[in-house]
């Protein structure tokens, strides 16, 4: 493990009277993959959007990378795969990747897009409009888009949804390969087997309240399922 890539203290988000995320402390070191688990409406996507810099916290502090970094510099450290694909429907898959590369200041956007198309096996759909792609294909382009600038912190909101088993397995392999001393990932998933396979730590959220799982919970899928059930039950009892 190396220095913290993300550091949150008392991070909370409210939407009017609704508390989407209760104050949370979080340190995410390079080399880690954090699994964010929880039922629908638990606040997982809210936490990801806070980490991505898309939303401002209601209270608390959040630093991504260097605490004194500017907001654009913090955004440069993050790659985000969300529920929505972030793709422009009128542009082709290749144009979407080139556009992202330009927005992230990649030196040679065309070459980078070509490399991502090759790496993600998107050659057959590269010249097709993103709006005409199947959900699974669009998801693969979306994942390639998030990696266009080789982010240090990768945020993944249910990245396996819409993927066929082979594509899901390849994505899991790719995410495992992405791990490195300089990078970290936050993975939101309902697939506990994937979480057990990929994560080094796990956090369960229920109605915006968080509980960390012991490292031993990630030893196997049954162990994670049991720990997850216990954590959800405990959090649901919390007033």
């Amino acid at each position: 493990m190396s220095a913290a890539l993300a550091r949150a203290r008392g991070l909370a988000k409210r939407f009017g009277p609704l508390t989407a995320l209760h104050p949370l402390d979080l340190d995410l070191a390079a080399g880690e993959t954090l699994a964010l688990l929880g039922p629908n409406g638990a606040g997982k996507s809210t936490l990801l959007r806070l980490l991505a810099g898309l939303a401002r916290p209601s209270t608390g502090t959040l630093a991504i990378g260097d605490a004194s970094a500017s907001r654009p510099a913090r955004r440069a450290a993050v790659g985000f795969v969300a529920h929505a694909t972030f793709l422009y429907a009128q542009l082709t898959a290749r144009e979407n990747l080139e556009l992202a590369a330009k927005l992230y200041g990649v030196a040679d956007p065309r070459a980078r897009a070509a490399a991502l198309i090759e790496a993600h096996d998107l050659g057959a759909v590269a010249e097709r409009a993103a709006g005409a792609l199947s959900r699974g294909m669009a998801q693969r382009v979306s994942i390639a888009r998030a990696l266009v600038h080789e982010p240090r912190l990768l945020l993944l909101d249910e990245p396996f949804s819409g993927l066929d088993p082979r594509a899901a397995e390849r994505l899991a392999e790719r995410l495992a390969a992405q791990r490195g001393p300089e990078r970290a990932a936050v993975l939101v998933t309902h697939e506990l087997a994937r979480a057990a396979q990929l994560a080094t730590r796990a956090l369960v959220l229920v109605r915006g309240r968080a509980r960390w799982l012991a490292a031993s919970a990630l030893a196997s899928t049954p162990a994670l399922e049991a720990a997850y059930r216990d954590a959800v039950a405990a959090l649901e009892r919390t007033p």
Partner: protein, 221 residues
């Protein structure tokens, strides 16, 4: 600056492929001129009737509002607005790219409408074509700058198609006053009047600077 060019290219490319905004704005604008043509008596001397250039600007203004309502339509699909907001650039340059694309589309609609207006009312606009284009461009710039900022705000609201005109039309009063006065005096006298052009320049400058600076916060949730 690469973000500016990237967003400008993206907006023009998506518009070229769909032609949604241009078609809607042009049809609306031409229909307005057509209604004016049928409503006007045959003896009407357009150059001596001060309300006629005003009606031309009504066509421009509402076509502009129609276009600005669609300025973030591409970003609504697949939450591409969040993708823009994530870009590690000064968001002011994203604003400039989007506003420039809207300006170019609106300017093209204005040019077509002006030609149609001249044909409908048998006007010879060639002697004042450059001046008229300058006034049109200044008006389009104001609409594009204020419209892009407010459209980015309205696009996240539930009643966005109602919200934008409510916010934008009062704000565009200085642009409309300057543009209508300048066009009226230009058509009547054949020369470019300086005071209304000054008003246009100041309004455009204020809208451009304020929008550039505020865009960083507008894209936050």
């Amino acid at each position: 600056m690469s973000a500016f060019w990237a967003v400008l290219w993206k907006d023009l490319a998506t518009e070229w492929r769909s032609r949604e905004r241009f078609a809607a704005m042009t049809v609306f604008s031409l229909l307005t001129v057509l209604v004016l043509y049928f409503a006007a008596p045959p003896s009407l001397d357009v150059t001596r009737n001060y309300y006629v250039p005003g009606l031309l600007w009504v066509a421009y203004l509402f076509a502009g509002v129609l276009g600005m309502n669609r300025a973030f339509a591409a970003e609504l699909e697949n939450d591409a607005l969040s993708a823009l907001a994530l870009a590690p650039v000064d968001r002011g340059f994203l604003f400039l790219g989007k506003a420039t694309a809207s300006f170019l589309i609106l300017a093209a609609v204005q040019a077509l409408t002006a030609v149609f207006f001249a044909l409908a009312f048998a006007l010879d606009l060639w002697p004042v074509a450059l001046e008229l284009a300058a006034i049109g461009a200044l008006g389009a710039l104001g609409i594009a700058c204020a419209g892009t900022l407010l459209s980015a705000i309205a696009v996240r609201t539930r009643a966005r198609e109602l919200m934008l005109p409510l916010l934008l039309l009062p704000l565009l009063a200085p642009v409309l006053i300057g543009a209508v006065n300048a066009t009226t005096e230009l058509l009547a006298s054949g020369s470019l009047p300086w005071p209304p052009v000054q008003l246009l320049l100041v309004a455009d400058g204020v809208y451009a600077i304020v929008s550039f600076l505020c865009f960083e916060y507008v894209l936050d949730e």
